[in-house]
Amino acid sequence: MKVEEIRQMFPALSQEVYGKKLVYFDNAATSQRLSSVIECQKDCALGANANIHRAVHKLAVEATKAYEDTRDAVKSFLNVGSRDEIIFTSGTTHSINLAASCFGNAFVNPGDEVIVSESEHHSNIVPWQLMCNRRGATLRVLPVDNDGHLLVDLLEGMLSERTKILAVTQISNVLGIRNPIERIVSICHSKGCKVLVDGAQGAVHGGIDVQETGCDFYAFSGHKVYAATGVGVLYGKKELLEAMPPYMGGGEMIDHVRFSGTTYAPLPEKFEAGTQNFLSVPTLRPALEFAQEVNKDAEVQARQKEIIDYLLDKLGNSPEIRLFGVPRGTEEKIPLFSFCVEGVHHEDLALILDKMGIALRSGQMCAEPLMDRFGVTGMLRASIAPYNTMEEAEYFVKCLDKAAKMLRA
């Protein structure tokens, strides 16, 4: 696919900001929406707008079908064995909170341990802290090295029969390096420790095969893979989900409700309490289809690699720039670059580059422990999608230089 062809599919990209062409480099925070996603949501709202699973009328049947067909699309996207293992949530954060809370209630006892990595998003730290506090367990941290690689060699020594679960990101939203998930899963499983993978970034860049990887849980958000906001997915192995108590109580998640006691619906409804986001869930279908297509497309991948190499060179070899997440080879890196410019505050740069039309992320990026690890108060981040061009990357490098000069002068 040509880049112009892809750009045509994302109507928001053609807008101007402050009279300049928009250069959207904040894709790791949220991607732009596909026109097919926008259309899908509109069609649901105008056509099959009815509450799902409940009524027998035509609209309800259609809405339910759109929703449940999406479960099949997710099933094939992650290569999940059974539909029952896919739970729709509001996003990665919801998915991880659900998993942490219910897994904790089922399997974590006082004196047990949970491991997270040092490079986790707050969404993959705080839910575990909350659960550990509630269950009397201890949270331990797997560190990263100076280049941003997880110190997986330390993992085996950290595991014991008390370690119940490890939560790790497939790709950090700050470092942009692919973590060796299969190796981590195999080490953990050899010691009886379960693994949750935060796929918020990983689902976008290559996705995952959960059966091949063997992870026990996988979480991702729709809005980062071109779908509508407010939807996400939690994959969980059936035997674990079945052993876990429900997260929220309410409509749809029940079998029978009596004041003497309630029985719960089978999977996956057990974890889908209340009215679901039936207008947005179906947008995952066109979105995941597009994500799979670009991930397979040799032309798109070659173009992304060229941009990665270019930015690795410009940001990685400048004496004034400190790049975080330095890969051993391009294949390890996604087009996501967090960095600091010597003597210039990240926020100043972001403000000036914004006026030049470039949307970047600045600050702690929801990973304060990682900021502390590198001794900085924040960073600047450029994250790139298949619709971004080499010209945009070059314009960004030029503007970054100009802005830094302006701030230093």
């Binding site: 210039v344 100043d348 006026k355 302006m406």
Partner: protein, 137 residues
């Protein structure tokens, strides 16, 4: 000393000469760079203004019935903004500051043109200045 009103009008006038936002930033950067040095030992948590992406410290002192502000920030544009605020409000009486509506900030377009996180920071800076005035009424 010029009146509060005169100082504010002069700033609005200054800003109106810049069409481009980059020029307004240049102006703020200049202000930031020219802000007099702020002692390291006063960069304490109680002087830190919450709600900004960058760190901003504001210190005040009452002399001859007037409030004198000093400030610093690790980001230069923020430093320019706090410098601008100080240039207007430092050396005024508590009731003058407390009674002011800070409307000139909107007039120069600062509020709308800063990102919401930054606009928050600006709101926090103004709130802190007002609180200090209120405490000295």
């Amino acid at each position: 000393m010029k009146s509060l009103q005169e100082v504010k009008e002069a700033i609005v006038e200054d800003f109106s000469t810049y069409d481009e936002w980059l020029d307004k930033y240049e102006y703020l950067i200049e202000l930031g760079k020219n802000l007099s040095a702020y002692p390291e030992e006063k960069k304490t948590d109680d002087r830190l203004i919450q709600g900004c992406q960058s760190r901003v410290w504001l210190d005040s002192e009452v002399r001859d019935g007037r409030i004198w502000f000093t400030a610093d920030s690790d980001a230069i544009i923020t430093k320019g903004i706090i410098s601008l605020l100080i240039s207007v409000y430092s050396g005024r009486t508590a009731s003058e500051i407390y009674g002011d509506d800070f409307g000139f900030i909107t007039e120069i377009g600062l509020k709308e043109n800063l990102s919401p996180t930054r606009a928050n920071g600006l709101a926090s800076m103004i709130a802190r200045i007002k609180t200090i005035a209120e405490e000295n009424l």
